[in-house]
């Protein structure tokens, strides 16, 4: 069973910031260049670039250079550590409830 501490801290840290979360959510709607993202949010281009670097380090987005622009998109599976956390609990409860059924058979045959 995982605790939150074992889920990659970088994913949590990256999504902890409301601006980064907004940028990430925005990218789920499609690829965008830094310039486009800057236009969407009331933050400076260097700040957007910094946020994107943090998201990229966390494995949440990919960057692709084309000419003088870098285009960013959501990395498939970037949120997997969070999903896996829930998946692990699902497995834990499935096993536990199977044990419960066997116990009930012994208690109340």
């Amino acid at each position: 069973m995982q605790t939150a501490a074992q889920v990659d801290d970088r994913v949590f840290t990256a999504l902890a910031d409301p601006s980064r979360r907004a940028i990430f959510e925005s990218l789920t709607r499609g690829e965008a260049a830094v310039k486009e993202l800057t236009a969407r949010f009331a933050i400076s281009q260097p700040a957007v670039s910094q946020h994107l670097a943090t998201l990229r380090a966390a494995g949440l987005v990919h960057g692709r250079r084309e000419g003088r622009s870098v285009y960013y998109r959501v990395a498939p599976g970037g949120l997997r550590p969070l999903v896996d956390w829930i998946t692990q609990y699902r497995a834990f409860w499935t096993d536990s409830l199977e044990r419960l059924e066997r116990l009930l058979e012994k208690m109340d045959p």
Binding site: T3, A16, D17, I86, W93, L104, M107
Partner: protein, 140 residues
């Protein structure tokens, strides 16, 4: 029942009366046999308890519990706290012609709002905005 994407939800039909299932859900000696080791459990809302499993790397084996709802033999709700993870576990027992329909749900795989125990990890909130939908979409 469709599980929200921040929840674990399982259901099963048991060939045992709700009273028997309730015992297995609430008596420490029985709970220890199917869920996790537990020494004592006072069945009143607000009472705290401790599941103590074998420590593992990254987990001290402790699950801290706190009873929220106790309605024998139909509903049992408790907080399930492991380290940073603060969730709610709900058991609902419904009598059937052949025994009991048991629904189990664990919800709240998100940091509590207003808590700031260890910095950034608590600053984000899956339930806010659309991130929870994003998560479901990407996990699909």
């Amino acid at each position: 029942m469709t599980a929200p994407s921040d929840a674990v939800a399982l259901e099963l039909d048991l060939a045992h009366a709700p009273q028997v299932v309730w015992r297995a859900l609430t008596e420490p000696a029985l709970l220890s046999q199917w869920l996790l080791p537990i020494a004592e459990l006072e069945l009143s809302p607000g009472a705290t308890f401790l599941f103590q499993a074998e420590p593992q790397p990254g987990w001290d084996g402790r699950v801290n519990g706190r009873l929220v709802e106790v309605e024998p033999p139909s509903r049992l709700v408790y907080a399930w706290v492991v380290g940073d993870l603060d969730t709610l576990v709900t058991f609902t027992l419904t009598p059937t012609a052949t025994g009991t329909h048991l629904a189990m749900q664990q919800t709240g795989f998100k940091p509590e709002q207003g808590r700031n125990l260890a910095g950034a990890r608590y600053g984000w909130n899956m339930m806010s905005g659309r991130l929870v939908e994003v998560l479901a979409r990407l996990a699909a």
